[in-house]
């Protein structure tokens, strides 16, 4: 049902909009391809010519520096031409519709759009309306999906813990309700066969029926991180910390902030992850963020390799023959 729009007739990746509806083979292919690209970054000349002559447009309707930068670097290391277009919400309200914007850019013979948008479903919408040869990569749509972030997290977990997800118990802590990252991580972990996926938050931050995505819900951090192998923290938006969702940063940290002391309940070799940027003293204490079990900085580095992998795979499905790929 879902996800078919993402695949071409041969079942290969054409768009990358959401993890949902993909399969383990594709996710593993992304991870393996990313692995092959990690060498590129270490080279003197940090480039491969895979996407030479291709034009990639970073179409950002929501401000972002970190994600956009890693997509840009990934595209440049694949030798593509990159155009960054930041459209703030106000200019779309001036009359030009999203589709108008898209058509105008398409006329410039774009091969791939990397899209970030504040509304859930925006990447699907764009994928449905682009020309047949154009690929769309979702760089975050509303609360729906952020699949490349989830894949770089999977990449990180695989590097640290090995390829057998089946023996892993993973806990995601924080604002699940508003998080596109959490939704994509849940799908990815389940597709890769994780032993157990847990989400931990107060009831105000857990969306209804989240269990149906294949997670166990915990409302107490101490119980939720019991014996887990991986803890993924989510960023808590500051504007959500006051008002009806949460009473205060202080209470959140006291109950859901990860500290060295609380970590004693997790497995001794527990890995700590966070998509960044961290609110130190809210989501976790600095001792945890900077401690030996934290892989937060590695995550950032993996972002480029994973995005290179997704870009090159989606472009292949778009028509670059395998021989050419292997020759380059």
């Amino acid at each position: 049902m879902s996800g078919n729009i993402q695949l071409d007739a041969q079942g290969r990746l054409r768009h990358f909009l959401t993890i949902e509806g993909l399969n383990r083979r594709i996710l593993t292919e992304i991870l393996d391809t990313a692995e092959s690209f990690t060498g590129v970054t270490a080279q003197q000349v940090k480039k491969v010519p895979l996407l030479r002559g291709k034009t990639i447009v970073n179409l950002f309707f929501e401000p972002s520096t970190r994600t956009r930068t890693t997509f840009e670097l990934a595209a440049k290391r694949l030798s593509a031409d990159v155009l960054n277009i930041n459209i703030n919400a106000s200019s779309t309200t001036k009359g030009e519709t999203l589709l108008d914007t898209l058509r105008n850019l398409e006329a410039m013979h774009v091969d791939m759009f990397v899209v970030r948008h504040a509304e859930s479903g925006a990447a699907h919408f764009i994928a449905r309306h682009v020309a047949p040869h154009v690929s769309v990569l979702n760089a975050g749509d509303g609360r729906h999906a952020h699949p490349t972030q989830a894949m770089l997290d999977m990449f990180t977990i695989r590097r640290v813990k090995g390829p057998d997800f089946g023996r892993l118990r993973v806990a995601i802590v924080g604002d699940i309700l508003h998080s596109r990252v959490a939704r994509s991580q849940i799908h990815a972990l389940n597709l890769l066969g994780a032993g157990e996926v847990r989400v931990i938050a107060p009831k105000t931050l857990i969306p209804v029926d989240i269990e149906k995505l294949g997670v166990h819900v915990f409302h107490r951090l101490e119980e939720g991180i019991q014996d887990v192998d991986v803890i993924i923290m989510l960023r808590l938006q500051r504007e959500r910390m006051q008002g009806a969702l949460l009473p205060s940063e202080h209470e959140y940290f006291r109950l859901f902030g990860v500290t060295e002391e609380k970590l004693a309940r997790a497995r001794p070799d527990v890995t700590i992850m966070h998509p960044g940027p961290i609110n130190r003293g809210v989501e976790m204490e600095s001792r945890v963020a900077d401690g030996p079990r934290s892989v937060i900085l590695q995550q950032v580095g993996h972002g480029i390799a994973v995005r290179m992998a997704v870009m090159s795979l989606a472009m292949r499905a778009g028509g670059v023959p395998d021989e050419e790929r292997e020759a380059s």
């Binding site: 999203l98 509304e119 859930s120 479903g121 919408f125 939704r183 969306p207 209804v208 029926d209 995505l213």
Partner: protein, 435 residues
């Protein structure tokens, strides 16, 4: 001018008069003269409609159809939509007050009436605004709106400022014997939402509207309706628990009625699937259990009316990421055939369907005496002839509404109107398609 017409040999169904048999209907002077095998004395037909093998019903009374005029003529017009209405078997439709400007002055009522008369298809009734500009604070001149012809008052989907405003509005409307049409939605609970708060919204990351947004508003309104003794109608119920609460209140003697819109009898949150904006409606499509509860309520009479909740849009309105699209489904063309599908699926029998599509809504609008939704001798001859076996596919070519925004696009439906009479005049006739 008006002709004498014999509608011959159809299966005539009027639950209000307990008629369900093959017989003739006799029309003259714009009025229904008689239902029966023998013509009224001295009757000589100018022409005859052969209805053998067909159904003959009172015309459908649709409690909610946005005509988009005045204010949004790029979506549809009174002429385009009333024409689609009669082709769909709807002879009377009720226009909610959320036009631009809203129906909060007699001038707007008059404008809509005149445009409808000029178009000459379906009858158009209006609901006046409950508050000025639908702003939720100051009551409208309801007595004047009623004198101009409004059949009820409503604040459409706009919030009222407080419980006090609702209380006063109920009291004031009751003073002039006006029914208050309520769209039960707690606006704070629904704020920002665009899909039912449930499995699908969680999966797609769509901001949710909880079922409690409806039940909390129903409970709140019922308390004030009971307190004021005003007559009220609940529009577009979607949730099983709201229906139970209203059934309970009715059992206790509270004067309330209720309707459901037909898309909610077929579609659920799962039809949104991959962000299908055609399924973006307000209130949102809910669960399969809710859909089944609505169907049962139609069968049992716990809800009185089934309406189209027609909201035609231009294509651009649905051409955006899901949350940014405008809610609503174009429904005049499909109301009757989808209703018949409920009969095919064993949800209702035909007389009950006529009761929900015609009799019930006619009563809710207070038009029973005039014969709306009934075959009442001496009253308006608004009736339809239906070929129950005609199969058609919903497509841009078969839709007459200016709005093609329907998730039923592509569905194959059974049952089509062959003749529609309004005031004894044939306003629509479908020629048999060449074989």
């Amino acid at each position: 001018m008006s002709q004498r017409i014999r509608i011959r040999g159809g299966r005539v169904i009027d639950p209000a008069a307990d008629i369900d048999r093959e017989t003739d209907v006799w029309i003259g002077g714009g009025r229904l003269l008689a239902v029966g095998d023998a013509p009224p004395e001295g009757f000589e037909a100018d022409f005859e409609i052969d209805a053998r093998g067909h159904l003959v019903w009172p015309g459908i009374v649709d409690l909610a159809a946005r005509l988009r005029e005045p204010g949004a003529e790029h979506k549809a017009t009174i002429a385009s939509e009333t024409r689609a209405a009669v082709a769909g078997g709807i002879t009377t439709l009720c226009c909610p007050p959320d036009t631009t400007p809203p129906i909060d002055t007699p001038a707007v009522v008059e404008l809509i009436r005149k445009r409808a008369q000029t178009a000459g298809f379906a009858r158009v009734e209006t609901l006046g605004a409950l508050t000025r500009g639908l702003g939720g604070e100051t009551l409208t001149e309801m007595a004047a709106l009623k004198e101009e012809g409004c059949v009820g008052v409503s604040n459409a989907r706009y919030p009222l400022a407080s419980s006090l405003v609702l209380r006063r509005a109920l009291e004031y409307a009751a003073t002039y014997d006006l029914t208050v049409f309520l769209h039960p939605e707690d606006h704070a609970l629904a704020a920002g939402g665009c899909a039912h708060e449930g499995e699908v919204a969680t999966r797609l990351g769509l901001p949710g509207i909880p079922a409690a947004a409806e039940t909390a508003a129903v409970a709140h309104a019922l308390a004030l309706i009971e307190h004021t003794g005003a007559r009220a109608h609940f529009c577009r119920l979607t949730h099983a628990r709201s229906i139970r609460m209203i059934a309970r209140a009715r059992y206790d003697g509270v004067p309330v009625t209720a309707d459901v819109a037909i898309p909610y009898c077929f579609l659920t949150e799962h039809d949104i699937s991959e962000f299908d904006a055609r399924c973006h409606v307000r209130p949102p499509l809910r669960t399969a259990a809710d859909r089944d509860a609505l169907r049962s309520a139609l069968a049992s009479g716990a809800v009185d009316a089934l309406c189209s909740d027609h909201q035609p849009h231009e294509p651009d309105a649905k051409c955006n990421p899901f949350p940014m699209t405008e809610p609503g489904i174009s429904g005049l063309d499909t109301l009757l055939s989808l209703g018949l599908r409920l009969v095919d699926e064993g949800v209702l029998d035909l007389p009950t369907l006529v009761a929900r599509l015609a009799t019930g809504p006619g009563d809710i609008l207070g038009l029973a005496q005039q014969g709306a939704g009934r075959l009442l001798p001496g009253r308006r001859a608004d009736l339809i002839v239906i070929d129950p076996d005609a199969v058609w596919r919903v497509s841009p070519e078969t839709l007459l509404s200016a709005g093609h925004n329907t998730p039923f696009m592509g569905w194959e439906l059974r049952g089509r109107v062959t003749h529609t009479l309004v005031g004894g005049r044939v306003v629509f006739e479908r020629r048999p398609e060449p074989n």
